[in-house]
Amino acid sequence: MPMTDNSAGKTGAAPEGVRARDRLALLTADNAAVPLPAGVQAITAILLAVLLIALPWLGLGYRFLSIAITTLYTAIGLYGLGLQFGQAGIMSVGHAALMGVGAYASAILSVQLGFGFWTSLPFAMALSAIVGGVIGLPTLRVGGQHYIIITFCFCALFVVVLTNGGTFTGSATGLDVGSVTPLPGINFDKLSNNYYLVLAALFLALSATYLIGNSRYGRTLRAIRENEQLARSVGINVDLHKLGVLMVSGLFAGLAGVLQLYYLRHISPTLFGAFPSLYLALMVMLGGARYLYGPLIGAVIVNFLPEVLNLDPVDSRIAYGVCLLLVILLLPGGVGAGIKNVYCAVRGGLEKQGGGTNGRA
């Protein structure tokens, strides 16, 4: 059976005399629980930050920057999904609807009450968080696939409501908004400034994910993911933690939704329906939900793949599907896991050459 052993905390370094197949198993194992050295983490973070900040100056053109913005706000939403799935183990295939709640809340506030970007943002994020918590209520009763199907229903229901909402939600045509209210000296009509706005939000989301993942709260969530009964029996308030992480996830989704709204300037129900939701689930699985950069990797792959391979939309969707199948079969932890395993294997190999012991990478 080509299924790989997936127990977390496997050492990355291959012991001496392993067969090729075992080596493959090590490469495809899920290494999320193995911490990387602080130095490596810091270097990766700095390199990534420099690359992302320098991106608009690399002269890659308008189209590239537009895709980059799309990638980044999608990644913000994915960090919410990554948190609830990667840390707490609660998958959702209705996440785009949660982004839609934020986007529509902001758009309706803008159309009805004349709120701008900055004033509507906190309301939209709060509403997304609340809705995230309310949709999450069934997780306390049903688990796993039942909950996934509930989220899918919610997503479909959301689109029906938006489509039948008359002028309030703009029906099938949707709503339009103006541009982001300029800050002193910064006009967000300029594409690169819009990029930096989204990038700042992404850094927020990344830091929040890092902090939560390394906090007591994050450890508690992982305990619930691994064994809910056990977590409950040692006195963890499982229900509260689950709803908490879903609300945090909603907060991220709201932020992503508002950024999407003000980047596109126009939203319609199809942006938040079943398909976008499924793609969000694909991206987070593709990248690896348990890895800090997993969601970002997933978003980059899915958004840039058609561009790089120069595929038309139909072929690119077939390509997504095939990628997804391959990742699930060969690399259940996602591309993030693959990169980390390669790093661990290389490091293990170097140590062996240097005469060192096969330490944990």
Partner: protein, 289 residues
């Protein structure tokens, strides 16, 4: 009153297709433990294959059999190449099935195109019974569904294969020790469910036009039907299909047609939250992970 009866008769034929897909899902999800989100695409592929074969001059009923076999083979391939590797991690299987559904949908668009396809009524008769017009094809659809439901129901509840299957669901290890080839049963159930999807697709295209996106619309109704009735419960799927078909048919005729989709979704969410085991009870499906 005539209009009411007319609506009822029409809803029944719509419910038949829903029941066929619901039975497939209830068996695959409840008994084989696989959440196959691509099941709707299997149905769509069956419909498209029928359209192609009828277009090439084949008789509809022959095409129906071929569509069933084709989709059964597709199910066999999917189970062998994909789902058997994720049997002990149902969540991964679920995500993979989403990938498969995306592939199938766009492969059909690539081979044909994204426009809707329809065939002319293969029978073309209309019977008038007591002032109610009954299209013969609709009656045939209901009859075929009834036969399939009966075969499946008695197969699961009475035959020794059905008993072995139920035994492997309730206690897999013991069943294996008793010499039941559980894996082969899982494959068998998957193929049978896929075959039903193929036939359902063929019947569907005889009633309405379908597009490559029909699958993703109908899949959620299939899950609704199987969950409303209780997973693995064939009788439950029939009840669920009838409830949903009638709600849809009647709300389209009366009430607010633009909210038709919402009714079934709300019913489904409520049942999932309040009675996760379904109205008639069933297995709770594969252990949630």
């Amino acid at each position: 009153m005539d209009i009411f009866v007319q609506q009822l008769v029409n809803s029944l034929s719509v419910a038949s297709v829903t029941i066929l897909i619901g039975i497939g899902i209830t068996l695959i999800f409840g008994l084989a433990g696989i959440v196959n989100f691509a099941h709707g695409e299997f149905l769509m592929v069956g419909g498209m294959a029928t359209w192609f074969m009828v277009g090439a001059g084949m008789n509809f009923f022959v095409a129906l059999v071929f569509a069933g076999l084709l989709v059964g083979a597709l199910g066999f391939a999917a189970e062998r190449c994909l789902f058997r590797f994720t049997l002990n991690r149902p969540m991964n299987g679920f995500i993979m099935s989403i990938g498969l559904s995306v592939i199938l949908q766009h492969a059909v668009i690539r081979v044909f195109n994204e426009f809707q396809k329809s065939i002319t009524d293969p029978v073309g008769l209309v019977w008038t019974i007591g002032g109610v017009d009954v299209t013969a094809m609709r009656a045939i659809v209901v009859a075929i569904t009834a036969v399939i439901v009966a075969i499946t129901y008695f197969g699961i509840s009475r035959s020794r294969y059905g008993m072995a299957l139920r035994a492997s669901v309730s206690d897999r290890d013991t069943a294996e020790l008793m010499g039941i080839p559980v894996r082969r049963y899982v494959t068998g159930v998957f193929i049978y469910g896929s075959l039903l999807a193929g036939i359902g697709g063929a019947l569907m295209i005889s009633l309405f036009p379908i597009t490559p996106f029909t699958g993703s619309v109908i899949i959620i109704r299939g899950f609704a039907v199987s969950l409303i009735g209780g997973l693995g419960n064939v009788g439950g799927a029939v009840v669920g299909g009838l409830v949903l078909g009638l709600v849809d048919g009647l709300s389209a005729g009366y009430g607010y047609p633009e909210w038709t989709d919402a009714y079934s979704l709300v019913v489904m969410i409520l049942i999932l939250v309040l009675r996760p085991q379904g109205l008639l009870g069933g297995t709770l499906g594969p252990k949630a992970s």
